[in-house]
């Protein structure tokens, strides 16, 4: 019976990490639904971006209030993980504050965890107020109704509770230090030292009960939260790093070249090409490349990773000229729709072993044409994203599908494109008149 807590702890830990691993494998499998893409270029620049944008949070602080609060929560999350390491060792071996042998270093560690915990608490409360009291416009958009709105608040509650439990645990521990030999006298407690007097006069047994409950609830909370990630928008705490690595490293104005089109255009322009040539043996049966994207399988793996990384902060949408002027387009919704569709396809694969057509697709069933055609390709969304997501690339791929596979461009655009084809300008002017401006006064 003596080892019951240790065994219980070990089972919880294994179950928590096991289920999380299972789900992450599903995320990876789902991302692989997308087309392979070569991102082996610009290594140095990519690592620089990871350092600057992901680790350094450089894009977060473009908006100072949420940026600084986010840095509190982010640094808190990273640093307090050291504490979690201690909790795990203690839990498995039944020790208490195993790292306390570090002496003064341990004091500094605990003190900084406490200060960070308070800062996280402050940050999370400010976030909650911005969402629910201040009701910032970007948190109340059309796509933020129902689950996305609740999801965001659940995450904040989780973090509040975890921090309160952590500080409560330390406050009770501080009372027990010197009373109970199991509780080693170690650590500095600048924050919980202020809460600790609340526990004055409580019996040793009560204090132990408080300390143990807080300790267990804290670690269970962390494991639950870890497993909540997969179901929420909060995966960015892990995926932000690879996502920034795979982010765009060429000028934002450079849109990707469609190789399959290049080959055909070259053939068209080659005076020596035989128009009646039979296709090469191996090409005869091959299905021609589909142009653009109508569903998630047509997107690249990076675009699907983008969708899983999106934490729905809405900075993209709040800078989008189309959205700002009341159009249906919201770059955040493009990412949310993409993820919803990936997960639908993923479930389909889990159930059937492979994807069985379900009569649905990303286009029309999720993303509307009206949204796609409202984009000015201004790159404001790409610039705004703190984790290098590129909603514009998905919009462009879907436009390509609409135009090249379905000839479904808005009529005025068809007129402009016909003009370009016939007379080399989007307007109906004669190419021979191109230099006329020179003769006009």
């Amino acid at each position: 019976m003596e080892y019951l807590p240790n065994i219980l702890f070990f089972i919880l830990l294994a179950a928590g990490i096991g289920y999380f691993t299972f789900n992450i494998r599903e995320v990876i499998r789902n991302i692989k639904i997308g087309r392979e893409i070569d991102a082996s270029d610009h290594k140095k620049e990519r690592w620089n971006n990871v350092m600057r944008i992901a680790l350094g949070q450089s894009k977060m602080v473009v908006r100072p209030v949420s940026g600084i609060m986010h840095i509190f929560v982010y640094v808190g999350f990273i640093i307090i993980n050291i504490e979690v390491l201690e909790i795990i060792i203690d839990g498995i071996f039944g020790t208490h504050r195993i790292l306390s042998f570090l002496g003064p270093v341990y004091d500094i560690l605990i003190a900084s965890f406490e200060i960070l915990a308070l800062l996280v608490l402050v940050g999370v409360i400010v976030f909650w107020i911005r969402r629910n009291i201040q009701k910032l416009r970007r948190f109340w958009a059309r796509e933020m109704k129902g689950w996305p709105k609740d999801d965001a608040n659940y995450i904040l509650y989780f973090e509040m509770v975890l921090m309160v439990l952590f500080l409560t645990m330390n406050a009770a521990d501080l009372q027990l230090q010197g009373i109970n030999p199991h509780y080693v006298e170690a650590g500095a407690f600048p924050i919980s030292g202020l809460i600790s007097p609340l526990f004055d006069g409580l019996s040793e047994a009560t204090l132990i009960a408080i300390e143990r409950s807080a300790w267990w609830l804290h670690i269970i909370g962390i494991l639950v939260f870890l497993n909540y990630l997969y179901f929420s928008k909060h995966l960015h705490i892990i995926l932000a790093f690879p996502n920034v690595y795979f982010g765009k490293v060429v000028p934002k104005g450079k849109f990707k070249n469609l190789e399959s089109v290049t080959n055909e255009v070259k053939l068209m322009m080659d005076p020596n090409a035989d128009p009646f040539a039979a296709p090469a043996e191996d090409e005869a049966d091959a299905e021609p490349d589909k142009f653009g994207a109508s569903d998630v399988m047509d997107l690249s793996r990076i675009q699907l990773l983008n969708a899983y990384t999106c934490t729905e902060c809405g900075r993209c949408t709040s800078e989008c000229p189309a959205n700002l002027t009341g159009k249906k387009l919201s770059p955040r919704k493009i990412m949310m729709d993409t993820r919803d569709r990936i997960e639908e396809v993923g479930k389909n694969i889990s159930k059937n072993g492979e994807f069985k057509p379900d009569g649905k697709q990303l286009l029309d069933d999720y993303i509307l044409r009206e949204e796609l055609w409202a984009c000015t390709t201004c790159n404001a969304c790409v610039e705004a994203c703190p984790v290098s997501i590129d909603p514009l690339s998905i919009i462009m791929d879907m436009r390509q599908y609409l135009v090249m596979e379905q000839s479904a461009a808005p009529n005025e655009l068809n007129v402009a494109m016909t003009n370009i084809e016939n007379n080399g300008a989007p307007w109906p002017y004669n190419q021979m008149d191109r230099l006329n401006w020179n003769d006009e006064a």
């Binding site: 060429v250 000028p251 934002k252 104005g253 849109f255 070249n257 469609l258 089109v261 290049t262 255009v265 070259k266 068209m268 322009m269 142009f291 800078e319 000229p321 189309a322 700002l324 002027t325 009341g326 159009k327 249906k328 009206e370 055609w373 409202a374 984009c375 000015t376 390709t377 201004c378 790159n379 404001a380 790409v382 610039e383 462009m396 879907m398 436009r399 390509q400 599908y401 609409l402 135009v403 090249m404 461009a409 808005p410 655009l413 402009a416 494109m417 370009i420 084809e421 080399g424 300008a425 989007p426 307007w427 002017y429 008149d433 191109r434 230099l435 401006w437 020179n438 006009e440 006064a441």
Partner: protein
């Protein structure tokens, strides 16, 4: 008025066995749009004034394909691009300048993969270099002390990271440069990019150019400076929509310089 400036074409240069220092890529707007033609002429005056040896393609120029690509028509884009590249490579063009950020972006970023490698600059960058080399003189003149706000074209700014060249030129004009709330990397689009120039906007509460014009007017400028023919049109329409056309002008940076010098 001074003598009309002779604008040579590449064909003429070729016939004479000459090569220009730079090719001026005029673009469709600059060639056909009545408002944008004025920018073209102003820029030509500046080139002439700085004794730049330049030529144009004239009737051999064709749409870069930018609106086609951004509308999703990669076929048409690549047809345009490859045709243009054949012409440019045929003339062994090395250096290009254009007054249109869309042409600039397309030739700079999207032509190399199709075999077109040129040193292309936007006209504000080119003017800036002429200034630095002492070939072009820009001094206060007409706009000295006037309140001017600069609207960043998306395809010059965010798309290619050039925010300072046009601003440097404006500073040379000794204007009082006032920034809009959203500027530089966070500048708001005029609403014309991504082939929107050629279609009606989707249903919404407001047109993008009105939103941007309102923001520009908040700075109470005497001139809204632009550096893109599309932005110019959108902002001009916006100013008219707000019935401010008698108080606020929309001008290209090149026009302002030419105007300040009374060229």
């Amino acid at each position: 008025m001074s003598e009309p400036i002779k604008v040579p074409t590449m064909a003429e240069y070729m016939a004479e066995g000459k090569k220009p220092e730079v090719l001026f890529w005029v673009g469709c707007s600059g060639s056909f749009d009545d408002r944008a033609k004025k920018i073209t002429k102003a820029f030509v005056k500046l080139l002439h004034n700085a004794k730049v040896d330049f030529a144009v393609l004239g009737t051999e120029e064709s749409c870069t394909g930018d609106p086609a690509k951004r509308a999703g028509n990669e076929f048409l884009f690549q047809m345009q691009a490859m045709t243009n590249i054949e012409v440019l490579n045929g003339y062994e063009i090395k250096k290009i300048v254009t007054a249109c950020p869309h042409c600039f972006n397309t030739i700079k970023n999207e032509y190399p993969e199709l075999g077109g490698n040129y040193d292309i600059v936007h006209h504000t960058q080119f003017l800036k270099s002429l200034l630095d080399e002492g070939r072009l003189k820009v001094e206060g003149g007409k706009f000295k002390g006037k309140k001017i706000t600069f609207h960043d074209p998306c395809y010059l700014g965010r798309a290619n990271g050039e925010y300072e060249a046009p601003r440097d030129l404006l500073r040379k004009l000794e204007v009082e440069l006032v920034e809009m709330r959203r500027c530089k990397s966070r500048g708001l689009c005029c609403g014309a990019g991504g082939a929107q120039m050629f279609k009606e906007p989707e249903e919404g509460q407001k047109d993008v150019n009105i939103e941007r014009t309102e923001e520009a007017l908040e700075t109470q400028p005497s001139v809204i400076a632009a550096a893109c023919p599309f932005c110019n049109t959108m902002m001009t329409d916006g100013v008219k929509g707000k019935e401010k056309e008698n108080d606020v002008a929309v001008m290209d940076v090149a026009e302002m310089i030419a105007n300040a010098e009374d060229l």
